[in-house]
Each structure stands twice: as C-alpha cells, then as structure tokens.
C-alpha cells in the first residue's frame, strides 16, 4: 500500500513514526524510573522534564525531516519528474534548476543530467536521420512519379482480377475514349478481354516473373489498336494471385498508314496491269497491219489505254509521295529546340552557327534533321568552304517551311552535293545516309545562291507557326499499391467499408420535384481504399431540354445559356453510370438524387441498382436523431469548410459530402459498424428521419 504513496509522504510518515517512537520511549523510560523508585505520584519536575525532552525530540525530528524533505525527497521527486519530461515529452533543455535542488544528493544530479543530455542527443540524431531518410524517399518517390508520368507509353499496374492499382497520364489518353480510367476499376472495361486474359493466364501459369508477353489488343469500343507488353509481378502474399504490369502504345495510326500503303500498292498493280496488257495487244495488232491508217479504231484504243496508264501512274505516284512521310514516325518538334541542338553539335565540332527565322513547329525526326545539317556543315568545313554558318528558317505559302544552311564562300555544285548525299552521316548514326534522311522526310536538298551567300536548301513538308509554349501538362500517376493485396469479398454486405469503392455524387436540378423537374448538373468523386482519388472526378452540366427557372438559377448559378451544348440526360446519365460502375453510391439525401436518376433509367437503358449509403442517415447514426443533419450542419460539426463559391455547385457539395463521409467511416467503425451490411442494418433504424426530410 505504501508503494502507492509519494516519496515525500512516505518520508514524512517515517519521520512522524520516528518522533512518535521517541516520545513513547521517553514516556516508557519515565514510567520504568517511577516504578523503580516506588513513588506513588509522579513528581512535577519529572513531568516537566519528560515534556521538555519529548518536545525537544519531536522538534529535532521535525527539523531533520524538513531538511530531508527539502534536500532529498523533494529533490529526488523533482529530478525524477524532470527525467520523465525529457523522456516522454521531448523537453530538451538541461537539468539546471533540478540539479541545484539536488546538490546534496552527491553525483545523482550530474549523473541524471548526463543521461538526459545523451538521451536528447541520441533522439535528435535519430530524428534528424529519419527526417533525412524520409526526405530522400519522398524525393525518390517524386522522381519516380515524374518518370512514370512522362514515359511515352501507357503504364498500368493491375491486380490478378484486372483491377487498376496504378496508371499514368498516357494511360488516361489511350484508354479514356469513353470514361477515364480510375483506381480499382476493371481494365477489361476499357480493353477487349481476350488478349489480356490470354496473356495473363499464360504468364501466371508459367510462374516466371522474368517472362513477358507481347500482345496486341483493341479498346473496348474498338476505336484504337494497342500494342503492349505484360509482365506478371512477383507473388507478394500467399493466397493472393500476383498482379501484372502492362505497357501499351497506340499503334492505330501505324496500322492505318501501313494498311493505306498496302491498299495503294494493290491499286498500283491493278490500275497499271490492265492498260499495259491492253496496250501490248493493241500495239501487237497494229504492228501486223500494213498501214495504221486502215485501223483508226486501233489507234484510238491505243491512245485511250496510254492515257489511262499515264493518268494512273501520275495519280498513284502523287498519292505515294503524299503517303511517304505518313509512314515515318515524325513528331511535332519546336524549331528553337532543333536549332539549339544543332548549335550544340556544331560548337562541339568547333564550328559556329547563327540562326534566324520565326519559331515554328516542324513535323520532323529531330535527331535525323540535326544529324543531317551537322554532317553537311562538317563536310563543308572539311572542304575548307566555311566554318561559320547561318541556318535560316522560313515559312512557305501552304503547310511547309524551308531550312537554309548559308555560308559566305564558294557555292556548292549540285553534282557534288548529290554525291555527298549517299554518304553515311557519321559513326553516331550508323548506316544512316543523308539521302535516307531526305527520303524519310519526303524532301530534297539542293544548293542555292541567296543574297550573295551560298546555301543548301531543304524544304520541310509540314510546319506551322508555334504558339506560346504551352505550360507542361500536369500529368500525374495515380496509384494505390494496397489494392494489390486487398482481399476481395463477393458479398457487399460482408465487405469492410475500407475495402469498398464509393462514388459520392450530387445533382443540381431545375426544381425539387423529380416528377416534373430535370437534372442540370451531375458531379461525382471516387473514394478508393478509404481515400478520395483527386484525379478521378465526374463533373458535367446537363441540358435539361427545358428552361431553368430563375429561382433555381439563384440556388446553383446554372442558367439556360450555360447548358447550351451540354449533353442531355441520356448521354450524361450513361457516362455517370459508367463512372459509378462497381461502386457504392453515396449522396447527402440520396433518395432525392436517386429518384431523378431512376426516373430516367428506361431512356438511358441502364439501371442504377448500386448499393447506396446516405450521409444524412450516417450522421443520424453517429450523432443521434435530435441533431441537425443538413450538409452545412454536418460539415461544420466535422470541421470541413465548403468554399463559398463551391457551395450549391454539384462538385462543391460532392467534395464536401465525400470528405464528411470519410470522417464518418472511422466513427461508425468505433461503434462496431465495420461492414457495409452492419451499417445498413443500423441505418434502417433511422428511416423515419429521411422520410421527414423528403416530406
């Protein structure tokens, strides 16, 4: 029991017992002395002496206790508190006051000061090291995200059942024909299933994580053809099939160009073969006649076939020329970047280059063009023709531009230039010849004299004036690797709330009656693995096909002119249905929004049969029915601020509802409502509340 008392109290009790014992000893001594003397009464002097002795003893003990309390007990307690504060509360300053108080405790205070100082230093060093490592990891993560966001192919990471756990910006471009991809969505909603399943089954069956499979697949809508490579991840957890990495490249244009060339080639043979064969026959007959004048119809036939042949060759040749550069992977390249690269190349060779001309976007293979001009300048320098050059870029009428490499010095003969063009461009470009560069770009090069200067000219077939350099596209990678090891439960009712995907949504309407009013805006956000995925947002105005009453415009700010050109409810509803596929729908006062959507199910050809949660009812479960459950009241209670400009916009209210929902989930869990089924069972007790709100 004494263990629970403080040190000072225990010492106080000890000294009190000591004083009491001393007094009792004096009393006992006096009593023994009286018995020995056989005195019938106690002499007053003895009583006085005993009292004085008792007071003196009590006084002495009290004095000693006081000194002990001040210099030992209190000092030890103070020292102990100070050590605890340094251990648990992170206080860092030295034990100065405490050490002064504990000056009679020998080496205890300096020893305690040394221990706490070492502790603080160790802790600071550890914190610094953790912070440094955290910063390094964050920087690496950020670099990796940037890298993956910028790779020019779509990169996707999927679970074994094809749910998306990672995608980059290019994947959004490639797959986003209808609905943009989203975390925990099924890849097979975007791609035709056959090649993906086939490749996965083959790779997973092989069980070799180093094995990759090339595949060709089409988007679900069939609009794009994609070439890709799949690699199955190493198994991370027993019982969960490994996911896979899929890289995809859009080859629709390549295939189309190839198909177009094949078709052209087939047409060439078809159109040339017939008149050529006919011509041979006609000329053969004509040769056997004595006088061609006797067969005017044969001459006419011959001219006719020759005309057809000529026309076919000319037309087909022009189409071939036009198609030539389509096949090549030419990309839009800023002339400034191109010329800068060339300048660097020439400087490295000890040559100087000035550039002039407007900033254009050229459709070229930048590497080949730079290699071409650098090679030519070096060739001219080798000949002693010039070492200083000017590259002039000029727009042409029509879609093209002209590049001119100019120098002060002897002109180049076309014969010599044509002779050089068949040479390789240099060691760095392998067998690539200057002529091949011209062929790639379906162009030619020739010497010219421009304003007294010599030049070599190369037209560029496709160029346009560059606008302001666009800000870099904020491409983001979106991921949640926990999805790879997420246990999936077939029954929604038995699924933990954290494992469900939610789409929180809100609608704005022309009025409050689902029977007569129409939706003018739908917004939704996705919550995956207990987090809002910021990049996965649905937000569209809807043309209600009827005037929007001014009273409604006053609420949500949407007027008739804003919905001109917006999709109607059939298109917007279908897109939203796709966006919400496989998710639990969440809304604040869900029956209102659901009634507007469900009334359109027949027109949309889809059913909004998703599981549904209502934040009004969840608020009632958590805070009780007597509280206010409006969105403003709920968000205010949860410390969520809706920016004024976003209030009563579908997206503003949606984000606020989503944030409120995310805060309500742990509160539901604390009440033991862990699964969707448990929440719904509890919510049903509050059905009356919702009826009241809708009434």
């Amino acid at each position: 029991m004494l263990d629970r008392l403080s040190l000072r109290l225990r010492i106080l009790l000890f000294f009190a017992a000591l004083a009491l014992g001393a007094v009792l000893a004096i009393v006992a001594g006096l009593w023994v002395a009286l018995r020995h003397e056989g005195a019938a009464t106690v002499p007053p002097a003895l009583v006085s002496g005993g009292l004085i002795a008792a007071f003196l003893v009590v006084g002495l003990v009290t004095w000693v206790w006081f000194l002990f309390d001040q210099n030992v007990a209190r000092a030890i307690e103070s020292l102990a508190s100070a050590i605890r504060a340094r251990v648990h509360a992170g206080i860092e300053h030295d034990l100065v006051a405490e050490a002064r108080a504990a000056r009679y405790l020998g080496d205890l205070a300096p020893a305690a000061a040394a221990v706490t100082r070492t502790l603080v230093e160790t802790r600071n060093a550890l914190a610094e090291s953790v912070a440094r490592e955290t910063t390094r990891l964050a920087a690496e993560k950020s670099r990796l995200e940037t890298l993956l966001a910028d790779v020019p192919v779509a990169v996707l990471l999927c679970t074994a059942d094809h749910q998306l756990a990672f995608y980059n910006g290019q994947a959004v471009d490639i797959l986003g024909g209808g609905t943009a991809p989203g975390l925990d969505r099924n890849l097979l909603d975007y791609l035709r299933a056959g090649p993906i399943r086939h490749a996965y089954d083959r790779l997973a069956g092989a069980g070799d994580p180093d094995l990759a499979s090339d595949l060709l697949c089409a988007t679900a809508t069939g609009g794009r053809l994609l070439a890709g490579r799949m690699r199955v991840l190493r198994r991370r957890e027993e019982g969960i099939a490994p996911g896979y990495v899929l890289t995809l490249r859009d080859v629709t244009a390549d295939i189309a160009a190839h198909t177009s060339r094949e078709a052209l080639l087939a047409e060439v043979f078809d159109r040339v073969r017939r008149p050529a064969a006919n011509l041979q026959t006609v000329i053969g007959v004509l040769a056997e006649l004595q006088d061609a004048q006797d067969a005017p119809d044969l001459s006419a036939a011959m001219l006719d076939e020759v005309g057809a042949l000529t026309q076919a060759i000319t037309e087909l040749g022009a189409r071939y020329d036009a198609a030539q550069s389509d096949w090549r992977p030419l990309v839009a390249t800023r002339s400034a970047d191109l010329l800068d690269g060339l300048k660097g190349r020439l400087q490295a060779e000890g040559l100087s280059l000035e550039t002039e001309g407007p900033e254009l976007i050229l459709q070229v293979d930048g590497f080949e063009i730079v290699a071409f001009w650098a090679w030519l300048a070096c060739r001219l320098a080798e000949q002693g023709t010039a070492r200083a050059f000017r590259l002039v870029l000029a727009e042409e009428d029509g879609p093209g531009a002209v590049m001119r490499l100019c120098w002060d010095g002897a002109p180049l003969s076309v014969g010599r230039l044509d002779g050089w063009l068949i040479e390789p461009l240099g060691a760095a470009t392998g067998e690539l010849s200057a002529r091949a560069v011209l062929k790639t770009h379906a162009t030619e090069a020739w010497p010219e004299q421009v304003g007294g200067r010599s030049a070599v000219v190369m037209p560029i077939r496709s160029a346009r004036r560059a606008g302001r350099r666009p800000p870099p596209i904020a491409r983001k990678v979106v991921y949640d690797f926990d999805l790879l090891s997420k246990a999936r439960n077939a029954a929604v009712a038995d699924t933990r709330l954290d494992d469900l995907t939610f789409v929180v949504f809100d609608t704005e309407t022309t009025g409050l009656s689902p029977a007569t009013d129409e939706i003018v805006q739908i917004a939704g956000v996705r919550l995956v693995n207990g987090k809002r995925v910021e990049t996965e947002v649905f937000d569209t105005l809807v043309n209600p096909g009827r005037p929007i009453p001014p009273s409604s415009t006053d609420v949500h700010g949407i007027n008739d002119s804003m919905v001109v050109g917006a999709p109607d409810i059939v298109e917007a509803g279908r897109r939203f249905h796709k966006f919400a596929e496989g998710a639990v729908l969440v809304a604040h006062n869900a029956p209102f929004d659901m009634e507007f959507l469900r009334r359109k199910e027949a027109a949309l050809g889809v059913a909004f049969d998703h599981p549904i949660l209502d934040t009004v009812l969840l608020s009632a479960v958590v805070y009780g029915q007597t509280e206010q459950h409006s969105l403003d009241a709920l968000t205010a209670r949860l410390g969520i601020t809706i920016p004024e400009e976003a209030r009563h916009t579908a997206i503003g209210d949606t984000v606020a509802t989503a944030d409120a929902f995310l805060k309500l989930v742990p509160m539901l869990r604390a009440r033991g409502l862990d699964t969707f089924g448990a929440v719904v069972a509890e919510v049903r007790k509050h059905g009356r509340l919702l009826k009241d709100l809708n009434g």
Binding site: G307, T314, G317, D418, E448
Partner: protein, 143 residues
C-alpha cells in the same frame, strides 16, 4: 507547224533510246531542228557548241545528273539564252522544286501527254510564264 524561217533548235539530252526516237519524230513534225545526246558527260560542252534554243533535259542520266547540267548551264552567262525543260520519270513536288531551283524554265513528268509537252515547249520558247501549277498528268510545273 512552225515556219522554216523560225526553226528553233532543240537538243534532247536523254539516255533512253525509245523515248528519244519518239521525241525526234515529234519535234521534227513540230518544225523544230532536233539533235540528241545520250549521256550527261558531254552535254554542257555540246550546248556551248551548238547553243540550242531549248534543251529537253532528262534528270536521271548516267555519270552527270540533269540537275548538274542545268546548274552548269545557268552558271555560264554565255548560255543565258538557252531554255531548259527538265523531264523526269519520278516527278515528286520536291524534285520539281529542285529542278526549277537549278534554273530550269519548266519541269515535266514522264509519262506525259504529247499535247502537254508541245504546249510546254511552245510556252518556253515564246518566253511566256507558266500558267498553272496543277497536278494534271504530264503537266508542266513552274515555280
């Protein structure tokens, strides 16, 4: 038909015999005085010696290309009166541009219609500018 007093002299620089024969007939029938050289190597020297009014110049020649002949003729001020009509079996827009940049007065793609060739020869000899830049078969192009 041109009058004998106006007989213009045309030099055909063409390595393919069949088309050279045909051009010979055609130019003669048109009343021009026609001669031919089959290689590019001696073409410029022949032009200097004979000073033809017009050179029908094939692009693809052995040894020296039509472009080079054209450029050398244009670099010689003494030959400034010699007109050049270039002919090629390819006829891409870029080749035409290159030919015209080398100083050709016209450029015609093979195969060509005789009517178009006749018209182009007449136009160049008359010193008239080109009137069209369409892509019609065999039509001459001008910068």
């Amino acid at each position: 038909m041109a009058e004998a007093a106006e007989r213009k002299r045309i030099l055909v620089v063409e390595d393919e015999d069949n088309i050279a024969v045909a051009l010979d007939y055609l130019m003669t029938r048109e009343g021009y005085e026609q001669s031919r050289i089959a290689t590019g190597a001696g073409a410029v020297d022949l032009i200097r010696q004979t000073r033809p009014d017009l050179v029908l110049l094939d692009v693809m020649l052995p040894e020296v290309s039509g472009y080079e002949i054209c450029q050398n003729v244009r670099l010689d001020p003494a030959l400034s009166g010699v007109k050049i009509l270039m002919m090629t079996a390819r006829g891409s827009a870029m080749e035409r541009r290159k030919g015209l940049a080398m100083g050709a007065d016209g450029f015609i793609s093979k195969p060509f219609e005789l009517k178009a060739l006749r018209a182009e020869v007449r136009r160049i000899l008359a010193g008239e500018p080109a009137v069209t830049t369409s892509d019609a078969p065999g039509e001459a192009r001008h910068a």
